[in-house]
Amino acid sequence: MRTYQSWGRYPRASHTGVLPIVWRTEPPPLDRLDRSILPFGLGRSYGDSCLNDGGLLLDTKALDRLIAFDAGNGLLRCEAGVTLAAILALTVPKGWFLPVVPGTRWVSVGGAIANDIHGKNHHRAGTFGAHVVRLELLRSSGDRLVCSPEENAELFHATVGGLGLTGLILWAEIRLNRIPGAGIALERIRFGSLDEFFTLTESDQQYEYTVAWVDCLARGRRLGRGIFMRGDHAGWPGAPPSPLVEARLRVPCDAPAGLINRATMRAFNELYYRRQVRGRTRSLVPYTPFFFPLDTVADWSRLYGAAGFLQYQCVVPEQPGSAGMREIFERMTRSGEAPSLAVLKRFGDVPSPGLLSFPRPGLTLAVDFAFRGQRTLALLEDLDRVVRDAGGAVYPAKDARMSPESFRRFFPQWERFAVHVDPKFSSSFWRRVQRS
């Protein structure tokens, strides 16, 4: 049996069985199972939302068939286990692109919906779920329900961002966007402080995609220095890159503990920042490295060693002087932990369709921490407090430790959501945040 774990490899879970789901037309009798179940796609969630310790997993990897694609209007229907890579391989040569993509193309459509993922174009496009026309949900009762904003609407809003807890998504229909080609007209701008970032992000409305990499170890005057990237779809001379080709580089095994520490991280960040020699560069790049920097090295999470790592992603509403986000940066740099390069972005105000969707207007920050036991957990709890006070939220897809109290504050619609959780479905995450 494959070992099923999450991307951050913390916490470890042991599952008592795996049921591969192979045919959408032959749903297994889920009501006869004696343990709780949870769908599992490609395991790119970082924490425990894709784990079901002591229970069963429904592996959707084989549910990877396309059903229909209309190259006239960009409507794609496919099974839930289809990867975003497979979709792009088909549609980019025909001039269509996914409405929203995350930092890796190795996620399934079911996972993209269940986590209501976002991308570098959130300020324009909103979340992935906003482009889902309809989906079919298998409940443990055996019911197969087509859900959309019009039909079974309440269940649709629970399933989008619903962390796989409302049932098994069998297939979905997604609306794609027209693109001129497989290129990205990219502009990279070095900025020296958080203030400069805030100025740059004013330009968001003129670009489809914007994101920044920030050095979390720079202090004082340099606090929040980084590289701002913005781009638009563009033509690409020659054949489009194949998104199905996996990275040449692969981390073959767990790195020794402590490889990633403050010193190595500081050196890496310095190099990354200095690599951008000129203040501003423009280039035409293929879309794959622009969108999927995380796919450059396969299994990179092993660099964090056997103990794994935690990713912290939060969103903080806009405040005068961005006090909340500054506070988070201050606490990270002072902490003694070794935060990785961070991703910083301004979310837009396109409403997220899911009751448990994470994106909302404000600034979002994503940063990795090697797991070093209680100290790491204490720092993140400390950051949670800042996020709570600012009225923000932490992303369940990246989380392995938020408290039940935080969860309820971050997701005030959780009770409305809980009504739709399938009685047979559960996850390590769900049990953790439901503890009283």
């Binding site: 049996m1 494959r2 795996v18 591969p20 192979v22 045919w23 959408r24 037309t25 032959e26 592996d59 084989a62 068939r65 396309l66 059903i67 229909a68 694609f69 088909l90 054949a239 199905l244």
Partner: protein
């Protein structure tokens, strides 16, 4: 791709088309615009695979229900495929079961059923396809065997015997059809990470169905005779078959 020969419109019959390996191979054909005729036991599954291949670019996809152990049904399905696509260029025989060795040891019926699916039915199909291609002096027959056919082992020798017998049959057939310009390809995958092996512990020897499917397509393109997939199984099986029986019989394999 512009310099490659035009592969669109090639007429491909796939027996046992709903297996993960067959589906992945068919996807490569579909991407090149082939015509495909798929057979399998479950109409719903066939339709799911057919829709996938249409979206991926196949020029035409048709399906027919066929249980390969219904030997009398073979000729009708092959005729239907040829009629539906206007002839045949490639036949991929991919059906098969992985029998439970223990149950085979305890039951004559179980052993014979495993031989029926994995050997007898295949021989019947190959006889019809070979005659058709021989008289047309055109065609390619690709059959999925297994590394398990290279040597009998206590853990799965019934399956191994079926695949081993098939290999001898294909050798002879290849020899016979050489003069007619018809290719016969024996494909020997090792461990493949498919739903069939979901409960088996995975190790570095397991290959993805996609990798295997693409390798099968390349083997058909290059008209190879015997192909191990992935390639490293050839030296492994070379060592396994070289072991003298006096030693081999003592091993727990």
């Amino acid at each position: 791709m512009s310099s490659a020969p035009d592969r669109s419109g090639r007429r491909v019959l796939v027996i046992g088309a709903t297996s993960a390996i067959a589906t992945e191979t068919a996807r490569v054909f579909a991407a090149y615009g082939a015509r495909l005729f798929l057979t399998g036991r479950h109409p719903d599954r066939l339709e799911a695979v057919a829709a996938d291949l249409r979206v991926r670019g196949a020029m035409q996809v048709e399906t027919a229900r066929l249980d390969v152990t219904d030997i009398g049904g073979h000729a009708g399905v092959i005729d239907a495929a040829a009629a539906g696509m206007g002839g045949l260029d490639v036949v991929l025989i991919a059906h098969g079961t992985l029998p439970d060795q223990r149950r085979c040891e305890e039951s004559v019926a179980e052993s014979l059923a495993a031989m029926q699916v994995n050997f007898t039915a295949t021989v019947a199909l190959l006889t019809l396809v070979a005659n058709r291609f021989e008289s047309a002096r055109h065609g390619c027959i690709a059959v999925i065997g297994s590394v398990a056919g290279d040597r009998g082992r206590q853990s799965n020798y019934v399956y191994g015997a079926a695949k081993g017998g098939l290999e001898r049959f294909l050798e002879g057939l290849r020899n016979r059809l050489f003069r007619s310009g018809v290719d016969v390809i024996t494909i020997k995958p090792g461990f493949v990470d498919t739903p069939m092996t979901a409960q088996v512990p995975k190790n570095a020897l397991f290959a993805s169905p996609r990798r295997v499917g693409r390798a099968i397509y390349r083997a058909i393109e290059s008209r190879r005779s015997v192909v191990y997939i992935p390639w490293f199984w050839r030296p492994i099986m070379c060592l396994v078959t070289a072991l003298p029986e006096s030693i081999f019989r003592r091993l727990r394999l």
